[in-house]
């Protein structure tokens, strides 16, 4: 069994487990018939779609599989900072003074999935929206800009997320 | 309490329709559509929780998936044509 076959098996297992977890959450029953139907259908679907669900790269396993405890920590930090930033934007809307600017900066994350998660979490935090992502170059619209210097703006916007994400994906 | 929240969300959809109607550019109308879609999703979930039937939540999931596909297709077709907005 060479390395490619083993990696394909791992990808197939990930796809099957996530589909089956979705089935369990959605039906919420432990009948044998329900479990059998879910298992057979998620087996069939994951046989077809595993090359799309987890992409094949040459980077190795650690680039794709997140560390679970760091990922949960990242989600908790994301939801907390979402609420804090929502209150800040609410104050901005009430007072009516906004200073929107478009800033450019680069990220140091290496894998594609980590970059996509960074982009989504920047968009999800109120006050900043990612306009474009080109390889490692982000264009961000910032509601109350304090600086337009690329490096400081990057430190202020992506600061904590990037540090946490470097722990999650490699 | 849920009934009052549902009535409030219907009023909120009425207010956010204003941006769909008066928006000067197409991007503004698309923002209004996204806002109406998110609030309709919240309204579907709130109504089905107040009715206490788990079957009704399927509609919310299908609605979420197809609204996302609709917005994706809208921007996908028209991002190639420049200067028409």
């Amino acid at each position: 069994m060479d390395l490619r076959t083993r990696w394909a098996l791992v990808r197939f297992g990930i796809t099957f487990l996530s589909l089956f977890a979705g089935w369990l959450l959605f039906t919420w029953s432990l009948d044998s018939g329900s479990l059998l139907a879910g298992g057979v259908s998620s087996l069939a679907v994951s046989l077809v779609t595993y090359p799309i669900f987890v992409e094949e790269t040459e980077a190795g396993r650690r680039a794709h599989l997140p560390r679970p405890h760091m990922f949960l920590l990242f989600l908790a930090a994301l939801v907390f900072s979402m609420y804090v930033a929502s209150f800040r934007v609410l104050w901005r809307i009430l007072r009516g003074d906004i200073n929107p600017r478009v800033v450019h900066f680069r990220t140091r994350l290496k894998t594609d999935i980590a970059r996509v998660v960074l982009t989504s979490s920047i968009t999800l935090t109120p006050g900043t929206i990612t306009l474009d992502l080109d390889d490692d170059h982000l264009v961000v619209h910032w509601l109350d800009a304090q600086t337009t210097h690329s490096r400081y703006a990057g430190m202020l916007i992506k600061g904590a997320y990037e540090k946490l994400l470097r722990g999650v994906w490699l | 309490m849920l009934a009052w929240v549902i009535r409030f969300m219907v009023l909120s959809i009425v207010v956010s329709m204003v941006r769909v109607v008066i928006g000067p550019t197409v991007a503004d109308r698309m923002i209004g559509l996204n806002l109406v879609a998110a609030q309709t999703l919240a309204l579907l979930v709130l109504i089905s929780v107040s009715m206490e039937r788990s079957i009704y939540l399927d509609v919310a999931l299908v609605y979420d998936i197809f609204g996302f596909v609709g917005i994706l297709v809208m921007t996908r077709y028209f991002s190639g044509k420049k200067g028409e907005l």
Partner: protein
């Protein structure tokens, strides 16, 4: 509550008929189908609402956008 939604559907349909920009008309029809899905849901018909959500919001919008893309955006008349 249903009366408010019906008035809103009427407003969006009339504006979608009157407007010159075809893409904006398609967006308003998307709002129309969302509100009609909500009305079916309020009238205790979740299966009809499911079909309306799939067809009206997804497939109908995709087909209309494709037609607008093939023919042109401005209404000539």
């Amino acid at each position: 509550m249903i009366e408010v939604l019906l008035v809103l559907m009427w407003v969006s349909a009339v504006i979608a008929l009157q407007i010159r920009d075809m893409l904006a008309a398609v967006l308003l029809l998307g709002v129309f189908s969302m509100l009609s899905c909500l009305i079916f849901f309020l009238l205790h018909a979740p299966d009809v609402a499911l079909t309306e959500a799939a067809v009206g919001t997804g497939v109908g919008t995709v087909m209309l956008i494709w037609i607008v893309y093939r023919t042109g955006r401005k209404d000539s008349t």
